[in-house]
Every structure is written in C-alpha cells, then in structure tokens.
C-alpha cells in the first residue's frame, strides 16, 4: 500500500498533526514549511525537510495545507513552486486547504499542464481530533486519482468520503461549517435555557452527549461550554466567512437557508461586540446576555470525549 512517495506543503498545527499520522504508518514523507524550524520535530521523526516546494516535484503525491489563496498559488504556481520544474511534477496534488474556488481553478489548470491531477480534500476536525484518530475527509476530483490517493487519505483518521468531480468537496465543507454554526447556536440557546431553569451546563452537556443528539462535536466543545474557555479553535471571523460563502451559494442555487441566515446574524452580532477573534462558541455568552443571564465558569471535571 505504501508504495507511493509523499510530499507535504504547509505543516502548521493541523498539517503537522496529519504528517505525524503518515510517519506513524511508515510513509516516505518529505515536508516543506515556510518556517523551517517549525517542522524540525517531523525531521527528527523521519521526514525529509526541504527548502522549497519545487524540491517536492519528484514526489508521487503531494498534499497542500496552507492558509489562504495567495499562499496556495505561491507554493504551486510561484517561482519556487511545485510546478516550477519543467518536465517533473507529482502525479497527484491533494489540496486540503480548499481556500477559494478561483485559486483551485487556476492551480487545476497549471497542474494539468504538467500532467498532474488535482483533488480537493478538506478535512473536518482539529489537531486534537486528529490525535484521537477521529478526523474525517471529504474529497472530490478525478475518480482514478482519488482511488490512488485513498489509502493515504484513510491514514488521517476515521474515513474519507468521495463526493464527485471538481470542487464539489469545497461546497460540502461549506455545508459542514454551516451545520457547525447552527449546532453551536442551538447549543447556546438550549444550554442558556437549561441554566435559567437551574441546570448546570456540565449536567446539561453530560446528558446531551449521552443522548441521540450527542456527537463528536458536542463532546469536544463541552469543556469550552462548561469552563467558558474561548481560546480559538476556529474564530468567529472565520466562521462568518464560511457562512457568507454558504449563503451566497444558497442564493445562487435558489435554496432558502433560513436557519443559517439567522445564525449568520448572531455571528455578525458577536463580531460587532468585539469577539471576532475568539472561538465561535462565544455564541453562548451572547445568547446568555440576551437572556439577562450572567454565566460563570463551572468547576465540574468534564471530558472532551477525545482522549
């Protein structure tokens, strides 16, 4: 199975966590990161660390996980980019960042010129979820490229879903993040009401997590909800951006999204109040304030369901 050589571009917290899983599986891995020092630990664990994305051109399969469209274009079509070596390019490029439809399109055609196929493969989860082996991936692109890449995508965690050609996975990830926001607002509303009625958030979340409504997500957000820890895993600003992409898609497709539209307004209010850089689960205190309820951190020991 591990007969392909793998390259990795962009090993931030999330990327590094995924690289560790590939190394654990004994994969031949070379890594490029803009700040080289940040991937020294991957080198110590057996990865080859390279200076430019171009040095990954001879790998069979290369992953990108970068922050924005500009970075994605730079590491692929830029001067020292993956496609800057004439005649040498990977068979498959897998973009896990899926930052913009336009950038994907540009890179897809640059890749095609070098005989390389592009897969879109956004992920659901954070580094803690990766460590727990619970990450999921949604992929789209040419089906034969996907079949080749599948064993490696499966190493990331719990599973990979193939949803079709082109950029379809990007829309699915946007749908996923709409659901993330909607569920968070629903948790904020119901936890606030339960607390107003005298139920602690720890007790409420314990019950929800055991119930049919419990999920990996409700579990791992439980400590933040109980302890009021708003250290960002995903900021309000980022969630708002995904909601805007989702609402725009709804308008284009003629699909009404009333719940998403309302939650978007709650996120707008949260950002208007100055909480945009905090974790989006801040929605909880916004809701409590609207109800005239002052929340304080609870002492109870709670699990994130991941360890």
């Amino acid at each position: 199975m591990s007969d392909l050589t793998i390259g990795w571009i962009g090993a931030g917290r999330m990327g590094a966590a995924l690289c560790l899983r590939l190394l654990d599986a004994g994969i031949d891995l070379s890594v490029y990161n803009r700040t080289r020092e940040k991937v020294a630990h991957l080198g110590a664990l057996g990865a080859t660390v390279v200076d430019t994305p171009a040095k990954l051109a001879d790998r069979d399969l290369v992953f990108t996980m970068v922050a924005d469209p500009a970075a994605f274009l730079e590491v692929t079509t830029g001067p020292d980019g993956l496609f800057s070596v004439p005649g040498i390019a990977p068979q498959i490029l897998i973009d896990a960042s899926t930052v913009s439809a336009d950038a994907s399109e540009e890179v897809r055609s640059a890749a095609a010129e070098q005989g390389c196929q592009l897969l879109a493969a956004p992920v659901s989860g954070n580094p803690e979820v990766v460590k727990a082996g619970r990450l999921t991936v949604v992929a789209s692109g040419p089906v034969q490229a996907f079949e080749k890449a599948r064993p490696y995508l499966e190493m990331f965690g719990k599973g990979v879903s193939y949803v079709g050609e082109g950029d379809a996975a990007r829309l699915v990830k946007i749908c996923h993040n709409l659901l993330l926001g909607i569920v968070s607002q629903a948790l904020a509303e119901t936890a606030t009401m339960a607390e107003r009625a005298g139920v602690s958030r720890a007790d409420y979340m314990e019950f929800i997590n055991m119930s049919v409504m419990g999920s990996t997500f409700t579990n791992y957000k439980t400590p933040a909800i109980v302890k009021l820890d708003f250290t960002p895993s995903f900021t309000g600003h980022l969630l708002r951006k995904d909601f805007e992409l989702g609402l725009e898609a709804g308008r284009q497709y003629g699909v009404p999204l009333p719940t998403a539209a309302l939650v978007h307004q709650m996120i707008v209010a949260m950002i208007g109040r100055g909480y945009g850089e905090e974790d989006f689960i801040r929605l909880l205190t916004m809701e409590a304030e609207s109800a005239g309820l002052e929340l304080s951190p609870e002492e109870a020991e709670v699990s994130d369901g991941l360890s």
Partner: protein, 302 residues
C-alpha cells in the same frame, strides 16, 4: 452662489433612463426644465425626446453646461462608469453646478466617488429616491440627500419637482445608507404582508377580503397599497415594479452594511431567504411580492 429657484427653468443633465430615470425626467420636463439626457442604450430615450429632452453622447456632454446633473443607474460599477473618467460627469461638470447620484449603492462607494469630486473642486451629493414608477407619477416620491448642506439647499427646489417629499439626511453617504434602511423595511414589510394574508386565507378569509382589510388597517402603507393587490388572482403585472433579483440587490446591500457595522439584521436575513425560495422555484422574474406563492405552497394551499 445663487439659489436655483423653484419654477424657474433649470438646465439639467440626466444620466440613466431606466424605468425610474424615465419617470423622473418626465416630471422634470413637465415642470418646465430643460433636460439633456444620456443612456447606455439610446432606444430608451425616444419617448422622452419626443417630449423635448435633448440627447447627449456621453455623461460628460450631459454635464457640460448643466446647473444640475442627476444620475440613476443599476449598481456601484455603473455609477463609477458614468461619474468618473474622461467621459464621465466629473469631466463636464462646472464648479458652481451640483451633481446628485440617485442610485442605490453601497454608502462607502458613494463616499469614495464623492471625494473624487471634492478633490476636483466639484460637488457631488447622494440623493436616492424612495418610491416606484407609480409613486413618481403620483408626485409623491421621496428624495433623501446626503453631502454638503449648502449645495443641497441650492438644488432643493428642483427636487420638489421630482416628488413632494425631500429631506436632508446628513453627510456624504448618509442618504444612501438611509435608503438602504428604508428598503430593508419595505421588503420585510411586504414579506410580512404575504405571511399575514396566507394566515388569514388558510383560516377561511377570502384573499381579496383579507387584502382589502389589511389596506384599511393601521398597518397600510403606500407600498402595501400599490403592491399588495398584486397577489390577487390574475393581478400580478407582466412587467414587475421590481422583480425578485432587483429587489434582492437592495437586501444584499442592507445585509452587507449590517455585516460591516456588526448590526444584526435577523428579519432582513430571513426575508432574503424567502426571496431565495422564489429563485429556487423559478419565479424570480415576477414582482417580489410573488413571495406570497412560497407561503401559499408552504401552507399547503397550492
């Protein structure tokens, strides 16, 4: 500088002869003003030229020699195109004349364009008009003005020839912001009207009776008066006052301003999604009160 006095014919340049533009020019001609008009496509000018409007080949030419220049076009890009550049209003306007843009665009863009006029020693005001071709013809359209107050006072009398209600709102951009706020209510109000009629109809009140009762009630408004009856059987006009897509453009502006300011606008957001349902059902070419059809469907009446 001299007041451009009411009932004295003014030399007016006019840019953008869509439905609203044509209605405004008609009122200006009827009030005795000299109008020189420009439109991207000349065909829309024929009727107005027969009534005495002169034709200009560029926005610059429409502005040259005019005491007042008005424009009303579709979006921010179109305003930039007619206002700025070699053939734009800015190239023909004289320093003691006043340019008023009546288009509904993002207030930030309006301020940017106005500051280019200021930098050139010229005056631009934002002057959106609230109303439809119907209210214009009745003479009851309302104009709101943002920008230099002294310039507003000089052109005020001509604005009264367009419609009977004229208000100074505040600094540059304030009037388009207000127009966007007004249109937010307009859309939410008409969606709520459809919701109410569906409620009454499903409960057994004949639709025509329900509409009539609404229009006689305290919630009746001018827009409800002329648009509400569209939802009666066979009453939907072939040519909408504003179709779903056009009306939604204003709602998207409102949501964008709300987003930027951090002002939640949940009712606007929900109404906008009901307009999206019209798109999904393929009825977005109708006047936006066709949202009633969505309620009719959701409540199992069709």
């Amino acid at each position: 500088m001299s007041q451009i006095v009411r009932r004295v014919a003014a030399q007016i340049g006019f840019i953008g002869l869509g439905d609203m533009g044509q209605g405004i020019v008609r009122r200006l001609l009827d009030a005795g003003h000299q109008v020189t008009g420009w439109n991207r496509t000349a065909v829309k000018a024929a009727d107005l030229m027969a009534r005495g409007m002169a034709w200009a080949d560029t926005p610059r030419e429409a502005a040259t020699g005019s005491e007042i220049v008005l424009s009303i076009v579709t979006d921010a890009a179109a305003v930039r195109a007619v206002a700025l550049g070699e053939d734009g209003v800015i190239a023909g306007l004289s320093p003691d004349s006043v340019y008023l843009d009546m288009s509904t665009i993002d207030p930030e863009v309006s301020r940017e364009i106005a500051s280019e006029f200021t930098a050139a020693g010229l005056t631009m005001l934002d002057a959106p008009v609230s109303g439809s071709p119907v209210t214009l013809a009745q003479g009851t359209a309302s104009t709101m003005v943002g920008g230099d107050r002294a310039a507003f006072e000089r052109v005020e009398s001509v604005l009264y020839d367009i419609g009977s209600k004229v208000s100074y709102i505040g600094d540059s951009g304030a009037a388009v912001l207000m127009k966007i706020a007004v249109n937010l209510t307009l859309i939410v109000e008409m969606v709520a009207f459809c919701e109410s009629i569906a409620l009454a109809e499903k409960g057994g009140v004949a639709r025509a009776v329900a509409v009539d009762a609404m229009l006689k009630s305290v919630v009746a408004s001018p827009v409800m008066g002329y648009r509400g009856p569209f939802i009666l059987e066979g009453n939907m006009p072939d040519k909408p006052l504003a179709d779903v897509t056009l009306q939604q453009k204003d709602m998207l502006l409102a949501l964008e301003v709300a987003r930027r300011q951090g002002t939640p606008a949940p009712l606007a957001a929900l109404s906008n999604e009901l307009l999206n349902a019209c798109r999904g059902r393929g009825i977005e070419h109708r006047d936006f009160v066709t949202v009633f059809d969505v309620y009719h469907l959701l409540s199992g009446m069709s």
